[in-house]
Assembly symmetry: C2
Homo-oligomer: 384 residues x 2
C-alpha cells in the first residue's frame, strides 16, 4: 500500500535520530523503473526551503530516481549552508543507491530556521537504503509525520491494470499554495513527464490547493509524482487524471481530519459564482475568517460572519442576493435573515457551509477547520 502499492517502487522509513523520542524520521522512496518520468508542484511561498529549491532543480529534467524525506527539521531559512546540507543528502542517497544525485529529490519538514543534524541524517540515509523493500510504504509514511497523529496513505487500482499510491504529511500551516505538506505519489502507469505534470497540476488544484486550515503558507510544501511504467500500461490522460484526483482528494481529506487541534472538518461550497476564481476566492476568505472558525467551534451558526467574509472580497455579487446555508438550513436568504438558525445542528464533526452568490454558474469547494484552544496550545508550544 501507500507509495509501494504500484509496481516498480521500494521504500523504507527509519529512525535517524533527528527527532527526540525515537520515532521514525527519515523516509526513502526509490523508483526501479523502467521509466523515471516525474512531476512536482511546490509551495508558492517566496521564502523557499533548501530542499524545495533543490527538488525544483531536479524536476527540470523531468525525472526522479529517488526521494529522500526527513521530519525533525524543515531546513528553511538556513542560507547557503542549508542548501549544501540538502545537496549532501542527495549525494549520500545517490551513493547508497549507486545512482546520480541529479535525480534525487529531497523533502524536509519541521521547525524553520535551524540546521539539520547532518551527523545523524547521513547515516540515516544509509540505513534507509539498506532497508528498502516492496512493503516499506507504511514505514515511509510514518517517518514523515511531525504533529500528524496518524500516517496518511492512499491508493487506487485502475481497471486498466495500473495503480496509483501515495503518502502525505501535514497537520499545521495548512494553506493554499498547497497545505503544509509533503506528499509523494507513485504510479506504475507509463506516462511521460509532460502528461504527469499536467495531471498533477489539475489534481492538486482542486484538492490540496483548496485545503486552508490556517491561511499560513509553508516554506516547504512539495507534492511529487513518480511513474515507474512497470505496469506496462499507458492510460488515457483524462482517465489517469481522474484517478489521480481521487487519490489526492483522499489524502486531502485525511489531512483535514487530522489538522492540529481541530474539532470540526468544514467544507465551504461556493455556488452561483461568476467565475471559478471568484468561487475559490470567496471560499478562502470564509476559510480564513477566525471569528467564523471560533463560532463553528462553539457550534454557533453565526452566518453574519460568513457574509462579513464574503463582503471582504472583490468577487462579483450583490449583498442583497447572497444566500447561506449551514448544514442544509438556509439561515440567510437575500442577504438577510432566512430560516430559523435554531434548526442548524452543528454537533457533528463534519460541517457544510453553502454560499450561493447568485452571480453565475461556477462553483468550488474549499476545506478548513475550526479554531480551537487546542490549536493555540499546539502552536504556542511547538518550537520549545
Amino acid at each position: 500500500m501507500s507509495v509501494t502499492a504500484p509496481l516498480g517502487f521500494r521504500a523504507a522509513g527509519v529512525v535517524a535520530g533527528l527527532k527526540d523520542g525515537g520515532d521514525r524520521d527519515l523516509a526513502l522512496v526509490v523508483n526501479d523503473g523502467p521509466s523515471r518520468a516525474a512531476a512536482g508542484v511546490f509551495t508558492r511561498n517566496r521564502v523557499k526551503a533548501a530542499p524545495v529549491l533543490w527538488s525544483e532543480q531536479v524536476l527540470r529534467g523531468g525525472r526522479i530516481g529517488a526521494v529522500v524525506l526527513n521530519s525533525g527539521g524543515a531546513n528553511a531559512c538556513t542560507g547557503a549552508a542549508g542548501f549544501q546540507d540538502t545537496h549532501a543528502t542527495a549525494e549520500r542517497t545517490a551513493g547508497a543507491l549507486d545512482d546520480s544525485a541529479a535525480e534525487v529529490a529531497v523533502c524536509s519538514t519541521g521547525l524553520i530556521g535551524e540546521r539539520l543534524p547532518m551527523d545523524a541524517l547521513l547515516p540515516g540515509v544509509d540505513k534507509a537504503a539498506a532497508e528498502l523493500s516492496r512493503d516499506g510504504g507504511l514505514a515511509a509514511a510514518d517517518a514523515i509525520r511531525t504533529t500528524d497523529t496518524v500516517a496518511k496513505i492512499s491508493f487506487r487500482r485502475a481497471d486498466a491494470g495500473y495503480t496509483i499510491g501515495g503518502m502525505a504529511k501535514g497537520a499545521g500551516m495548512l494553506a493554499p499554495s498547497l497545505a503544509t505538506m509533503l506528499c509523494v505519489i507513485t504510479t506504475d502507469a507509463d506516462l511521460d513527464a509532460v502528461v504527469l505534470d499536467r495531471a498533477l497540476r489539475s489534481a492538486t488544484a482542486v484538492t490540496f490547493d483548496r485545503l486552508d486550515a490556517d491561511g499560513c503558507i509553508s516554506t516547504n510544501d512539495t507534492v511529487l509524482l513518480l511513474a515507474s511504467g512497470a505496469a506496462e500500461v499507458a492510460p488515457a490522460e483524462a482517465e489517469f487524471t481522474a484517478l489521480l484526483t481521487e487519490v489526492c482528494a483522499d489524502l486531502t481529506r485525511q489531512l483535514l481530519v487530522d489538522a492540529e487541534g481541530a474539532s470540526k472538518a468544514i467544507a465551504i461550497e461556493v455556488v452561483g459564482a461568476a467565475s471559478a476564481f471568484d468561487a475559490v476566492t470567496v471560499g478562502r476568505a470564509i476559510a480564513r475568517n477566525n471569528l467564523l472558525k471560533c463560532a463553528l467551534h462553539g457550534e454557533d451558526p453565526n452566518w453574519g460572519r460568513v457574509l462579513s467574509a464574503v463582503g471582504s472580497t472583490e468577487a462579483v455579487f450583490d449583498p442583497d442576493e447572497v444566500n447561506v446555508a449551514i448544514n442544509g438550513v438556509w439561515v440567510c436568504r437575500n442577504g438577510s435573515v432566512g430560516d430559523d438558525r435554531g434548526k442548524v445542528d452543528l454537533r457533528p464533526r463534519d460541517v457544510t457551509i453553502t454560499v450561493d452568490l447568485s452571480a453565475g454558474a461556477e462553483s468550488a469547494t474549499v476545506w478548513t477547520t475550526d479554531l480551537t484552544a487546542e490549536y493555540v496550545h499546539e502552536n504556542s508550544a511547538y518550537s520549545t
Copy 2:
C-alpha cells in the same frame, strides 16, 4: 473630556434596554455649532450595515448635526426593514432635537443578522435627548461598548486655542479597512468639510487602518469627525491633521490593548521597504499569521513564521537579504539564523517585531495581538 471636551458639543449615554444586564447601550452626540461641517470614513466591506449606508448618505452633504449610536445589535444583513429601522432612528432623533433627519448620522454595533428592538431603541433616543449635557462624553463612550472592557476616550488641546476629543469602541473583528469600531471625534476648530475629510483620511490611514487584530473586516466600521467651530479658531490644515492623528493614535492604542482575549500588544515595524504599500502589505501579512500569533502568545521567538509570512506577499525583497528583530534581538540576518534567539525576552505585554526588507527606504507600522485560548472562547460564545 471625550467628545464633549471641545466647545459646542453635548452628549449622553443611556440604558435603552437593547443589551441584557442593564448596561448603557445608546449614545447621542449633538453638535450645537455654529458650524456643522463633518467628515467620515467607513468600512470597506462590501456587505455594509444599514447605519453605514445611511450615514454615508448623510455625509454627502458634508454636515452632521447629531450622531446616535447603539450597542446591542449591528443592524447588518437585515435587508430593507433594517434600513427602515435606521431611518426611523434618525427621524426620532431629529424629532427630539427639533432638527432634520438628513443631518443625523447613525452607528450600530453588536450581532449581525438580527433586527434591532425598536420598541426599546426609540424611547431610548428620547431619553438620551433629555439627558444631553456638556459633561455627557464619558457616559456616551460607555454606552457604545460591546465586549470592550473599558471605555476609550481621548482629547488634545492645541496651543492655538482649539480642542479635539474622541470616543471609540471595538474589541473584536479588528482589521484593516478600519478596525471594527465606531468612533466619533469632535472639534471646536472651524474647518470646512473638505479639509476635515482630508485630515480624517490622512489620520485614520496611519492609525485605525493599521490595527489588525484578527483580519476580519466588520460590516459596521465608522469614524466620524464633527466640527462645531465654537472655538472660533481656524487652524492650519497640517497642524490640525497632526493633532487629529495624535488623538486617533491614542484611541488605536486603547483598542489594541483592550482587544478580545489578547495577552500581547504587538507592533510590527516594517523598514527598508521599496514602497509604503509594500511595508503595509508585509506588516498585515505578519499580523494575520495565526501560527506566529500563537508562538508570540507562547513567548516563543519563532522568526521562521515571520519569514514565512513575508514570503507569502508580493512585496519587493530578496529572501537572502531579509533581517528580523524581535524585541531588539536580530534573530534572523540575511534570511538565515542570526543572533541567539534565547536572548529574546517575550515576557512583557508589548512586543516589537522589526522586519528589514533591505529593498528601499519606506516603512510602516502595523499593530496586532496574539492569538489566545481566551480569544477562541470569547468568539465561540459571543452570539449565544
